[in-house]
Symmetry: C2
Subunit: 381 residues, 2 copies
Amino acid sequence: MCRTQEIKFSSHSTALNHQASAMANTKLGPVLKDELDIVIPTIRNLDFLEMWRPFFQPYHLIIVQDGDPSKTIRVPDGFDYELYNRMDINRILGPKASCISFKDSACRCFGYLISKKKYIFTIDDDCFVAKDPSGKEINALEQHIKNVLTPSTPFFFNTLYDPFREGADFVRGYPFTLREGVPTAVSHGLWLNIPDYDAPTQLVKPLERNTRYVNAVLTVPKGTLFPMCGMNLAFNRELIGPAMYFGLMGNGQPIGRYDDMWAGWCMKVICDHLGFGVKTGLPYIWHSKASNPFTNLKKEYKGIFWQEQIIPFFQTVTLPKHCDTVQKCYIELSKLVRENLSSVDEYFVKLADAMLTWIEAWNELNPSGEEATELSKVVSE
Amino acid sequence: MCRTQEIKFSSHSTALNHQASAMANTKLGPVLKDELDIVIPTIRNLDFLEMWRPFFQPYHLIIVQDGDPSKTIRVPDGFDYELYNRMDINRILGPKASCISFKDSACRCFGYLISKKKYIFTIDDDCFVAKDPSGKEINALEQHIKNVLTPSTPFFFNTLYDPFREGADFVRGYPFTLREGVPTAVSHGLWLNIPDYDAPTQLVKPLERNTRYVNAVLTVPKGTLFPMCGMNLAFNRELIGPAMYFGLMGNGQPIGRYDDMWAGWCMKVICDHLGFGVKTGLPYIWHSKASNPFTNLKKEYKGIFWQEQIIPFFQTVTLPKHCDTVQKCYIELSKLVRENLSSVDEYFVKLADAMLTWIEAWNELNPSGEEATELSKVVSE
């Protein structure tokens, strides 16, 4: 399966760079227009899209309406979208809808499930267009596309950051056999203005704003975990989609605001196992408003002490060799979660069950999903 | 042993930040003035120091003269320095002088050996003061000092980079038990203008210049190797000094331009074992002139294929628990080099011997060195 807009991974970074950059700017139209869905979880009218119109309008939106399904969400004119509320989710998934969270932005992963595209970009509705230090508006989506279309370098750290960006390369001492890199599964973008702090840090530093524009993209090294934020995130759904489950959060659950963290831990362990890369850094969005730290503390507090045990678990977990698809890895991981984290709290038994339900739902809605992510195919592309 | 200018590692990053930043700017005088030596390897007059005068003049310089010892190196007036040529090195080390390279910038490590200070900053004589994007001259030394005086975070990646910089912190999902960080052993700075490329990349991209100022400092995660460049480098000599051996390069050796790489691999493995941190990123210096790619290729070509076996060795090497000082780690590493790399080339037997000689020389010139780096002392400081 080879699509026209697909880039072959080549050892010649300059060629790749030029190719990606040309693709993002030529008259061929918006890059990956027919291969990328923008997923937005929301409970309100989507006026924030007005600011994104020049960048998002050519793309298809999947809006996941959280909370009261009888409420009408207004979407600005001219956008191409489909919208799912809780009743839609229940209708489409039947009993398997139990794996999709309610009253938590974790519900966004329903959008990943229902999409049929190769790439996903997901963004929160309180995120606006940021400006770079020259005052130019940042096309976050374009940067994410560059990130996912160029390889990652998880096996050795390049001190000049992403060697596939224009004007950069591998530095002296970088092994030549590692310069092809590996396919990029995830591109994690950052936030100017309101940083993504936990409730305790919000409480302690209510006025801190992120004003530092760091002009870098880098690969998170193999074996290193990081806190993945779901606010401004893109990924290759064909490569890693089934691992992007945002867990059981919010209504009826003992925890919230750990949906993206959970997905990040699971995804990173699986990417490391399958040889995919994860990038973080550019693009920035403008995060407009800090959420209420008291509400956040209530949602987070169990996660704050649970994570002290969960993270060591993910840091040491190893997946067996026979797990050669994302689905197989994820099912294995759910077993290991049940075995190793149920002593932390019985919630993790429920979560391990939900992880299996998620995979069943994924396979049902993406019947060729299992095949499509087979490594042999990825490699032969 | 607690010195007045020493910072206690604390879990409160803001306090630390303010302390470090206050230290760098108050009327107390230049920070670490009596605790830091600047080591410069050279074969020419040190006119480049004129540009660094506002920043370096308060500090003591150790100049290691490479090449013809009868040549006089001119040092601009007003600098406080000591200078060692090859005859001095032979006189001071006797037969152990064999471990110090000749006609290669690897000779700089003699300066680390002879210094009695806690911190070292080393810089090449073709490196000038760079400017930040606002046009302000960058005090590279001040930034290195900030880097080594604040903790590192090797166990988990912080997406907003160094959490100890002003205006930054740990993001949501960062484990609270890891927020104290660990002592920083090494600060690796970068280069604007001429990037640190190997000969093949220099040949392929003769006109590429690094113009991207990335406003970040970050910890190289535990378990991840990186190509350490010796051009613009600072370290805590008490913590990691004995591991900063720049190997056998240049005259009489089959290889050159791998001195800093060698030190970087050894140092990183030992830092990971002992729980010290390594930072890379800011500060930038202005690297003025690309060295001759043809000469470089001649020096490098063996390294270019050797590194394909050396790096996997360092990526998988583990040091036994009883190695609880840098010296013990380094002696163990020399054994492992002999066992595992002698099949690559007999050069590595000679190098393993030189590693032992280096440690003997270190202990001779730093009689309390073994004690001073004992972990128990580091921890109790």
